[in-house]
């Protein structure tokens, strides 16, 4: 590395950091506002203004994607790019890659913002975006990776600091997760079927979903914590040894824990067991991060009272500790049987996202903006107010969701002395928690109001900053790479490539052991158990269910629990979803489970319920789907859809594939005629989407 000696001054690329900060602030506002809208809709369904684009099931994915990938993503990129340059004592590897990374990511977000409300969705949680956007994400992520690892390659510091270990784990694992979970076959420009079906899709998706939490919302933020806490508090890291042990145990164990999203389901017991025990073993490694963060603040505690940055950071780490204690708790099968599908999980998630990710990002940005713009924070008071308002917002959110989740969970479970459900009517359990939905919306509003104070503060700080500042030059003349490499882990820290390979191995072990056996599972189902594939019209209806995002409120998985079986019928079996692409087991029961809703009601009931749920179930909070009975169904494309399915192994015969459109049209006409006979005013609903949807709903549990 002779070049370095000639170039003794380096200029960090802070322009890109500023851009990512702007983006995080702008998208953050959008993500929180959409979240508040969705929360309001659960309390007051009319808040969708009867617009299909604003319906809960379309904007809930928009909220999650915007919060995680737009707000969280841009914040991570800002922090990683800022801290890595300083930790590696070099400018980022390539300015053009940085720029492509930035603009590419914003375009992806824009694409999400447009396609999700329009209903282009794969309905796999946190992986809703359709295939062209999936490809774009892959490309941009690879560019990010090249830029990051390139920077490591040209570094002027021999050893990699712990923050960088976490960044390495993040970049590598997110790439693996995204690529594996997004293997899908397009059927049109904006629709695709995943190659995985049923239980495979469930397992791969939650391996992805859970580890998106791990490697998008945990490891990068731990890395940021390891840089910004010691910086802001001006304290040394509490324990280097703890960093090593909790890093490796976290990375190795986290990847196994995905199946805790599928406890008591039809997923084979062995996989559930792995998911549960690894989640429990994850508790200490997670707390290792919290301990190291909080103990680093020791000696700076007096600043918690005065310095808003330290306040945000300290509380963020505390929320991290809470969430990572609650997570293993919720992974215990019996606790999970109460909490799963309820708002408790929503509360758990928001403790992590609002408290940990949100507050850590806020602390980081309050630290960074005055530094980058070479000025002082406009108002400490505003920042303190932001802290308190946001903090109470989170508390109200968390507490109302605990109360709601536990209340509804207990009502679902409760069986009276006669062996009957104490609350057989599902909507009764919904009405009970609606007041808590209002409370949650208030909590969310406070969080948003606090954030708006931050926007004002940032805008003022930046606009009052001295203009025409040169980028900071850093003297590098006495920085060298000839430090002693050391031994053991210390030596490893000086070997970037070897370190990266070891992380890769650590995350592959659990992934392979869980996923590979599941891929073949359908082969071993006895033939007699196998169900028939969907008819063309049912498949068309299923695609509408997927497009509308009904999974945001409905599960299709009756768990092996007595109260589930009494309420919904026989526990779901693996073969029943073996042709489901994507699987729709769901994760939330704002409405009842639908796995066996087929045949429960007449077609006319469904028709009227979909058009106006309250006409059938007074006080229902389900949105109305009135557009479904005036949009025509595309029969033509069914041939392509079925042929893709056939290629993926669904046993359609050639004739069915070739005549898929004709068969569907016939099925649809039959259903339509029966409805028309009961109500002659329905003559306009011929060939509309609602007919396909009804036909799908009636097939559930009937195959």
């Amino acid at each position: 590395m002779s070049m370095e000696n000639n170039q003794s001054r380096t200029v960090y690329d802070d322009d890109i950091v500023k851009k990512f900060i702007y983006a995080a602030l702008i998208w953050g506002a959008a993500a929180f506002a959409v979240g508040l809208l969705a929360a309001t809709q659960l309390a007051y369904w009319q808040a969708n203004f009867n617009l299909e684009w604003l319906t809960f099931s379309r904007i809930r994915p928009l909220h999650t994607n915007a919060a995680i990938f737009a707000f969280g993503g841009n914040a991570i990129f800002a922090g990683i790019y800022h801290s890595s340059q300083r930790l590696l004592k070099t400018r980022l590897y390539s300015d053009s890659l940085s720029s492509i990374h930035f603009w590419g990511w914003q375009l992806i977000i824009l694409a999400a913002l447009i396609t999700l409300p329009l209903g282009f969705s794969q309905s796999k949680e946190y992986a809703e975006l359709e295939w062209p956007i999936d490809i774009a994400i892959t490309v941009i992520w690879v560019i990010f990776a090249i830029n990051f690892f390139g920077t490591i390659a040209v570094r002027r510091v021999k050893h990699l600091y712990v923050a960088l270990w976490f960044y390495i784990a993040t970049i590598l694992t997110v790439a693996v997760l995204h690529v594996v979970n997004s293997i899908e076959i397009p059927v049109s420009y904006l629709q695709s079927y995943p190659v995985y079906a049923g239980v495979q899709d469930a397992l791969v998706q939650w391996w992805y979903g859970h580890n998106a939490v791990a490697f998008f919302l945990t490891t990068p933020f731990l890395g940021l914590m390891y840089y910004y806490i010691p910086k802001a508090a001006n304290r040394p890291i509490y324990s280097y040894r703890l960093s090593i042990v909790h890093f490796w145990s976290l990375v190795f164990i986290y990847i196994w824990a995905g199946p805790h999203h599928l406890l008591n389901s039809a997923l084979p017991d062995w996989a559930q067991t792995l998911g549960m025990v690894f989640s429990i073993m994850l508790w200490a490694p997670s707390w290792g991060g919290m301990i190291n963060g909080l103990l680093t603040l020791r000696g700076a505690w007096h600043k918690v009272r005065t310095d808003p940055i330290i306040k945000f950071l300290a509380v963020a780490v505390t929320f991290y500790g809470m969430s990572t204690f609650e997570g293993p708790l919720l992974s215990i099968k019996s606790v999970n049987s109460l909490a799963h599908y309820t708002d408790w999980i929503i509360g758990h998630v928001h403790g992590g996202t609002l408290g940990w990710n949100g507050f850590l990002t806020f602390g980081m940005i309050y630290y960074l903006v005055p530094k980058l713009w070479n000025t002082k924070l406009y108002s400490q008071r505003l920042a303190n107010n932001h802290f308190w308002i946001g903090f109470f917002g989170i508390l109200i959110y968390y507490i109302s969701m605990w109360a709601s989740g536990i209340t509804q969970g207990l009502m679902w479970q409760s069986i009276d002395a006669n062996g009957q459900l104490a609350y057989p009517d599902f909507v009764e359990t919904v009405i009970k928690i609606v007041p808590l939905y209002y409370a949650r919306a208030i909590g969310g509003s406070l969080f948003l109001i606090g954030f708006i104070l931050m926007l004002i503060n940032m805008w003022k700080t930046i606009s009052l900053a001295p203009k025409g500042q040169d980028e900071q030059q850093v003297d590098m003349s006495n920085i060298t790479m000839d430090e002693v490499a050391g031994t053991g882990h210390r030596k490893l820290e000086s070997l970037g490539a070897v370190f990266t390979v070891l992380v890769f191995i650590a995350i592959l072990v659990g992934s392979i052991i869980e996923i590979v056996p599941t891929l073949a599972i359908h082969k071993y189902l006895p033939d007699a158990n196998k169900v028939r594939p969907y008819t063309p019209l049912e498949q068309a209806g299923r695609d509408i269910y997927v497009k509308e995002g009904c999974y945001t409120c409905h599960s299709q998985m009756i768990r092996k629990l007595d109260f589930d079986v009494i309420r919904y019928g026989e526990a779901s079996k693996l073969e029943e979803s073996m042709y489901d692409r994507p699987f729709q087991w769901g994760s939330k029961r704002t409405g009842p489970d639908l796995a066996r809703v087929g045949g429960k009601y007449p077609d006319m009931w469904h028709y009227r319920h979909m058009i106006d749920p309250r006409e059938i179930t007074p006080k229902s909070i389900m949105p109305a789907y009135p557009w479904l009975d005036n949009k025509k169904l595309d029969y033509q494309i069914l041939r392509r859809k079925l042929s893709v399915m056939k290629r993926l192994g669904v046993p359609y015969d050639d004739e069915t594939v070739a005549n898929a459109d004709i068969i569907a049209e016939k099925e649809s006409l039959e259903l339509f005629n029966a409805l028309l006979e009961q109500d002659p005013s329905l003559e306009n609903i011929k060939d509309t989407q609602i007919i396909a949807l009804i036909s799908y709903l009636q097939s559930l549990g009937k195959k």
């Binding site: 801290s83 930790l87 004592k89 510091v157 050893h159 600091y161 840089y227 010691p230 910086k231 040394p236 890291i237 509490y238 324990s239 280097y240 040894r241 703890l242 042990v245 145990s249 008591n264 017991d269 062995w270 067991t273 549960m276 025990v277 690894f278 429990i280 073993m281 508790w283 200490a284 490694p285 707390w287 301990i291 103990l295 020791r298 293993p328 069986i415 002395a417 006669n418 062996g419 009957q420 459900l421 057989p424 009517d425 092996k560 629990l561 007595d562 079986v565 009494i566 526990a571 045949g599 429960k600 009601y601 007449p602 006319m604 009931w605 009227r608 319920h609 059938i616 007074p618 009961q678």
Partner: protein, 190 residues
């Protein structure tokens, strides 16, 4: 930890001014880690080595308990009332009102707000598809339903008392001839 003590623990690591201390792993933390690993091993051993029940067996066992409870009720609680007793109850307005309230929540969607019929048949006329329109008959009908025709079985969803109330209410609206009544279906019962 006082300052000099801390200085002893400072390592020669310096990353952009960030230093690191050489503190040991906290003992209680290490203990929780070990305990969670021991728990994990114990849990797996219990279920996969020492023959703990699998999920199907666990479900079957808890369903069996519930079936026992139900069977006990079926034996003791089988106090079926005579039609004459039931007819006498129609003068109890609290029962009729409770029945009407339940009807508006659970039955209105298919039978209309006044029993005039919609998806399901008119319940106020003298025509019955099933049985003779007696209260006993209505109760039986509501319990079992006709799932294949779109009338859900309500046995598990509504308490027996309440089913009785609803049946009393239906009996009480006979002949009210509400507006928009659905044309007769089934057999005329005098």
């Amino acid at each position: 930890m006082n300052q000099s003590n801390e200085n002893d623990k400072l390592m020669d690591h310096d990353y952009d001014g960030i230093q690191e201390l050489d503190n040991p792993l906290p003992g209680w933390w290490l203990m929780t880690f070990y305990l969670s690993i021991i728990f994990a091993i114990g849990y797996v051993m219990f279920y996969y080595v020492f023959g703990g029940p699998n999920s199907d067996q666990e479900l079957a066992a808890s369903m069996e308990k519930i079936e026992l409870r139900r069977a006990a009720v079926a034996v003791t609680g089988g106090d079926e009332k005579d039609e004459s007793v039931l007819v006498a109850l129609t003068s109890d307005s609290t029962k009729i009102e409770a029945g009407q309230k339940e009807f508006l929540v659970k039955c209105m969607a298919c039978h209309g707000n006044q029993g005039q019929g919609l998806i399901g048949p008119n319940l106020t006329d003298e025509y019955w598809i099933h049985g003779d329109g007696s209260i006993t008959n209505i109760i039986a009908m509501v319990n079992t339903g006709v799932p294949e025709k779109g009338m859900p079985p309500w046995k598990d969803l509504i308490q027996p008392d309440m089913i009785e109330n609803v049946a009393l209410y239906i009996y009480s609206i006979k002949g009210t001839n509400p507006p928009g009544a659905k044309p007769p279906q089934g057999n005329k019962i005098e």
